[in-house]
Symmetry: C2
Subunit: 664 residues, 2 copies
């Protein structure tokens, strides 16, 4: 018996080798094999079931998280999984948990800012999870501005200890994941005070809970901050609050990799360059960009598959209605998101390379690329997460009414994803950092200092401010060099225009403040250029598999031209292209959609997601949507009884007019 | 003792009479007084408490809804509230319930499509809630395309009955609110079949549940469709599914106001014009636009107030940090939304007038304005709901991390609002209807048929295709006639360009299909023009109160210029304005933000929302945010115990490495 597959016809239409595309998507055959194996492992394990998640109460959901985390750890040990495999396992379990912060923030913080001795002491315990750590930075009144944190760590030379204290309500630690109910330890950030002098914010390893009975240690108030967006979603995580009432820790629990406090209370900088900590930041941000492509591709996979199942209008002679994926309005909203998923995937791959490159340079004391790398990673974090958050919601809308059902998976995906726009740098704040970097680059153009890396094109600003786009026919827009030059010219012109306007202000800082919205727009233009360029660079490599490269070329053009259409004002107003060329780009885009159409299902199959990971009835691999939606509905607790609880108390009195009678 | 008010200083800064603005916002002194009184009534009643809503399980939440609905009905009777007041009461109770559909869809459907006899029979029972009705149209496989519904109502001349039947799984009714657990009756839509002939979709009054014991009647399968987006939110509603297995109803339960089936099974059109049903549609859509301004203003109120409380960066000499509302990036994202709230409010008021106007015309057999009214209401429904959905999420982001907490109120507001983009016409489908109307208007331009109402400007297309914008200095953009002409020229040029491109296709229908994305963009341009024009028209009226009109003028300019900036590509590429004029508009916009800033808090105070209705700690009237966030956190069920349930089972075994031991 053949397996049911409503998408079989769609899959036959594909013009490329899907198995090879899976490898291109994963980055390598090895990466593909690990993902494939671990995702199946998770999908087949009943403990990791998540289809009832949105129906659980907060307490049940949290208990479920604990159960899954313990089981995941058990499987990691039993199967002797590598660190990479263990990370993949947590990824496919797909439920935010304290362990994410333990592995993703607590351990990296000690590795990045601890001394060798500190690492030797704490890391083995952490690797074995004999202690569970969190990362306690953000406070109730202080987020983006880390330097504004209020918690204090005052050195007491009499006892050789730091006294951690929360002097105000707004200094309460607030948000750290795992803090609320689980973590035994934290890397807590506080203002270091020695001899009455404030040395700014530093990290401290603090034990929070007893390893015997899990009770908070004296002086520590700790709890969960309460419900967050959505049902299921991030409510599985115990984001916590924390207050210190003169909590004492030994001096050697300050993370002293970069600065130290001596026995006498003297504050000293080590000879290790401060810049080393930027390595961690690049690492964290490349991971966020990779996560963006995962979340986006997941939403796109659901919306694309359901768009092929769903039919509306266009029935002829009583035949079936038209698949909604055949409508140009649907394509013009969906296919740019499909293209973005691939674009973000490849720029994420490139960021992995950048991380290795910058780490090597830092260890060789070469800090020359650091400002550019910093701006580039900040900007890419910002634009990929913002675009992904919007795209998930757009995919939900593209599924019509049923996208609003929890069983579509999209509401929870949205709810769980959107914090990425805020954590690790608010997206607007990050864009302004990129904007400042752009301005600095422009201001230095005459100085002989050559822009490097992703900003190198600014070295050709003179040309870019004057060049004319060569497009004469729609298909000219398929040429990579024409695309790149248009995006370079747009970014250069916006940056230069901004710098000129800033210089009109008597005080440059006032210019930066007043024109910050323009700066953010220039930053977006710069970052979109990076994504487009890296996609194009990817296509200059050898990519095996029948038709694979061809499909990626089409998606690359869709990505670039849809951005051009969306930001047409930038391109036309700055004179990079003419209105006619803009219209030709739009015409080309429409033709490209027709080329994507027959390959759409196969292009989302290439993400190789299990139905478990997708967590969506609309996105099921086999397309068997409606019977399963119907089946799922009956599982709702409200359907446990035919007559609802509350009928006798609240409904019947209305119908029988007993409310009125009661009053007379 | 003076009441705590952290916003007192902000309120003192206001340059206008807030009380008079409240009346301008409400539409009239009377409307203001009713809203004010009813909202306080609800806010002070403990039964209507909703601050714990997101923590309730589905069953608890639904029970809470039943309780509130019964209590609301009790209050309506006790206080002898008018229909308007009762509607306001349900509005301020702010929890989706079966009663919304009973009053908002079931009763209007009978009023709109029933015969006099049917109205006399059913409406009195419905008004007393002796029966509770729902509106069962949408099916599992059929939403936008009403003509594609599959449920059948076959006339059986032997018994003088209709037999209602669900022939397929996809024909199951799916989504109707109140259907799942409460409604005793439905207006159900089904294909009318007499003598083997299909007469298309008609409405039928069907009893679903026994009035004695609330059990479903024979042949009826009914239940809830399960969890939806978010916690709290629309999960208070029993959106339902319904299947008919040859259910028989008397012939006189077909709604026969427009067409009839005789005793012999003959299908007849009545002499009542079909167009009368459009009156209901205009009514429903004007209500949706009014709701958009409510939801948007609520989100804006929260984000504006919290932006004045929240401080980040910019501390000088250890002083307080800068209020985030003082940052231009914050202003450039927030103030256009504030302006949109007012713009949507006024266009909603105008739609109320339009409804009266069109009703009068219909009764006088004047159908001349109908196509224009239809396009106008469809388009306004689409753009205001889409903009509002996006704006709520933007407001959440503008609140930083804390916007993600349920206690900010914004997650639930988003979750409960977004269905408005889908119900009563999917927003994209509606835009395409507007697009078709625009094309028809353009194609007829030479024919001597004069466009009327909101499309009248197309009569001046010749001028609008050639005119040059007169702006020379930034402040020229404050002139209403310049704004209007720019928006008219943009819309006219986009529509004409579209029509030319459509005509390039051998078959016009292919042109419509291929260029549908362009059509939708042209439709947006047309609808934005309507909103801008109606705002400007409003300002030509007498508006009492010191400084009130001045503030509205500023907001009107902010609304128009921020749209111009966002859609700069449309304006510049079509040659309506030059790039330099676009830059001047942006400069003017920035200056306007500085004028909005001191009035921002007062402008959201003018919405006159109670803290109960706002449902947001961040948006509290008194600005006492942080202590209340802290207090709220402790109410989470996870904080009932210090050591979480599951510690012994799941956390301790990890820490004590019993997982490893268990395996050896």
């Amino acid at each position: 018996m053949e397996a049911l597959d409503y998408h079989a016809e769609e899959r036959r239409k594909a013009e490329f080798d899907v198995e090879e595309m899976k490898i291109a998507w994963a980055g390598s055959r090895q990466a593909y094999e690990i993902s494939d194996r671990v995702s199946r492992l998770v999908a087949s394990d009943p403990v990791f079931r998540k289809d009832n998640r949105t129906m659980l109460s907060r307490k049940e959901l949290f208990n479920d998280t604990l159960k899954k985390a313990a089981h995941a750890w058990k499987r990691v040990i039993e199967l002797r999984l590598s660190e990479e495999e263990a990370g993949k396992l947590r990824f496919f379990v797909d439920q935010p948990a304290f362990s994410d912060l333990h592995w993703g923030m607590f351990i990296p913080a000690i590795k990045g800012s601890g001394t060798e001795e500190q690492k030797a002491k704490w890391l083995p315990m952490a690797y074995k999870m004999q202690i569970i750590g969190c990362y306690a930075q953000t406070e109730l009144g202080h987020g983006s501005n880390v330097q504004g944190l209020e918690t204090t760590a005052t050195f007491d030379p009499h006892t050789d200890e730091f006294v951690l204290h929360s002097p105000t309500l707004t200094s309460s630690k607030w948000w750290p994941g795992g803090l609320g109910k689980v973590a035994t330890h934290a890397v807590a950030y506080a203002r270091l005070i020695t001899n009455g002098q404030d040395h700014g914010v530093h990290g401290f390893i603090v034990q929070l809970r007893s390893l015997d009975d899990h009770l908070p240690l004296p002086g520590i108030t700790v709890g969960d901050i309460g419900m967050k967006f959505g049902s299921g979603a991030y409510n599985s995580m115990d984001n916590g609050l924390l207050r210190f009432d003169h909590v004492r820790i030994p001096r050697d629990q300050m993370l002293m990799g970069v600065s130290q406090v001596t026995r006498e209370g003297k504050y000293m900088q080590s000879d290790v360059p401060r810049q080393l900590v930027y390595g961690t930041m690049v690492y964290v941000r490349q991971k966020i960009v990779a996560d963006a492509s995962s979340a986006l591709s997941r939403a796109v996979c659901i919306a694309t598959r359901y768009s092929a199942v769903r039919r509306q209008f266009g029935s002829q002679n009583g035949g079936p209605e038209t698949q909604v994926i055949d409508y140009k309005t649907q394509q013009s909203r969906l296919f740019p998101l499909l293209a973005s998923a691939y674009a973000f995937r490849f720029v994420g791959e490139w960021l992995k390379w950048l991380y290795t490159d910058v780490t090597q340079r830092l260890h060789a004391n070469d800090f020359s690329t650091l400002p550019e790398v910093h701006a580039c990673t900040a900007g890419l974090k910002s634009i990929t997460t913002s675009a992904t958050a919007d795209a998930i919601e757009e995919c939900r809308k593209l599924c019509g009414g049923h996208g609003y059902l929890s069983s579509s998976g999209l509401p929870e995906l949205f709810a769980v994803y959107i914090p990425a726009c805020t954590y690790e740098g608010d997206n607007t704040v990050l864009l302004l950092q990129v904007g400042r970097f752009l301005m600095k680059t422009v201001f230095q153009l005459g100085s002989g200092k050559k822009p490097v890396g992703t900003i190198a094109y600014m070295g050709r600003a003179e040309h870019l401010l004057q060049c004319h786009c060569e497009v004469q026919r729609a298909e000219d827009w398929l040429k990579p060099h024409i695309i790149v030059e248009a995006f370079e010219a747009r970014s250069a012109r916006m940056a230069v225009a901004c710098s000129k306007n800033i210089n009109k202000f008597p005080k440059q800082e006032d210019g930066f403040a007043e024109l910050s919205a323009d700066l953010a727009e220039a930053a977006v233009a710069h970052c979109q250029l990076i994504v487009v360029s890296k996609f194009i660079e990817k296509l200059q490599q050898d990519i095996p598999g029948k038709g694979v490269k061809r499909q990626l070329e089409i998606l690359c053009s869709v990505y670039a031209l849809s951005l051009l259409h969306k930001h047409l004002g930038d391109f036309v107003a700055s004179g990079c292209i003419t209105p006619e060329q803009g219209a030709l780009a739009n015409e080309q885009l429409r033709l490209l959609y027709s080329q994507v159409r027959p390959n759409a299902i196969a292009l989302v199959d290439a993400f190789n997601y299990t139905d478990h990971y997708l967590g969506s009835i609309l996105g099921r691999y086999d397309g068997n949507v409606y019977p399963k939606l119907y089946e799922e509905a009956w599982k709702d607790p409200l359907n446990e009884t035919v007559v609802p609880d509350g009928y006798h108390e609240y409904i019947r009195p209305i119908l029988k007019q007993h409310i009125r009678v009661a009053r007379l």
